[in-house]
Symmetry: C2
Subunit: 198 residues, 2 copies
């Protein structure tokens, strides 16, 4: 029913998270009918440029446009604490509290036997390689879901024997919810209320 | 806090309809973290191609990739009826009922004195230019909002003196709602229940 180029555009937007068919149609028609050619050019260039310039930080695996991310290279961060999260958006959620001054480690996923995601598929080895005398505490801030909790326990069991304290952020984040949708205060309380895992 | 190219990407998505800051962040991280470079290339090419190839149909002003849209050039459509809508997405909403076989006219907006949108700013002249002996009925399917209704009344007053019947789609679409979000059955009932406007 649509011209092929419109149908293709709608399908492209439909694959994005949280975008259904109607939203994809609305966005597509907005781009075709309301946006200037220049605005559309700016948008596609922003996508291409970001995808091209963004890579993983060589230390924490967060997204960055340089070899080492701004947090890992900052002299103001407390290098004795590493907060382990599932994804880059969790880093930004915690940064918004403004109260956490340690480092991060981004796993890019959580263990999930059902989906065939094993320890080798997420960046656990890279976390272990970072652990030296300067690290006193690992805060497990994976999502409070079955997979997120299993991942936290798995990593805690690996690290505890090394004599490094492993804590879990407090409940306060709704169980089963996504870290990225928690408000700043809830996240802050969750970090303050952290407790030893084992 | 974000790398500049990520912040720029988020801002680009934030300007789209129905996309707030959190959705824009979620989409941006999905593109950077989860999509392959090839998928991203397909997406940006789809945007560029659609924007480049899509123009207004020379007859009804709907979006098309040729001079005259598929509906206007079809020999199967009833050329005695023209359904007037505010935007291209309204055409697709009505087409989904599968029960309307006439032509369309896309105004690309509605009269809105508050926003300075006057009759010259929407495609009313182009509608009047289409009216000849072959046209028996104009169905006003602008949104049931203050501006949409005012636009319908304004156009009805211009056309009625020409001896062409002007009808309004029935209430059945929630008042104050957007045509594009109505389900097919509601839209079908609205078209069946249309009544003379003046």
């Amino acid at each position: 029913m649509y011209a092929p180029s419109i149908e293709n555009l709608i399908e492209q937007f439909e694959q994005l998270p949280g975008i259904g068919r109607k939203s994809a149609e609305r966005i597509s028609f907005y781009i075709l009918d309301r946006m200037s050619r220049e605005s559309v050019k700016n948008m596609t260039e922003a996508i291409v440029n970001a995808k091209h310039s963004i890579k993983f930080c060589s230390v924490c695996r967060n997204l960055t446009d340089s070899d080492t991310c701004a947090i890992c290279s900052s002299q103001k961060r407390d290098r004795s604490v590493i907060c382990v999260v599932e994804g880059p958006k969790d880093v930004s959620a915690i940064e918004k509290t403004g109260e956490y001054h340690g480092l991060y480690h981004v796993l890019h996923g959580a263990l999930s036997p059902a989906d065939g995601i094993s320890p080798d598929d997420i960046h656990i080895k890279e976390l272990l390689a970072r652990l030296d005398n300067s690290v006193n505490e690992i805060i497990m801030a994976t999502n409070p879901t079955v997979n997120g909790t299993a991942t936290a326990v798995y990593i805690a069991r690996l690290i505890e024997p090394l004599g490094i304290s492993v804590t879990r952020i407090a409940h306060g984040i709704p169980v089963g919810g996504d870290l990225e949708y928690a408000d700043e205060i809830t996240l802050l309380k969750a970090i303050e209320g952290r407790h030893p895992m084992l």
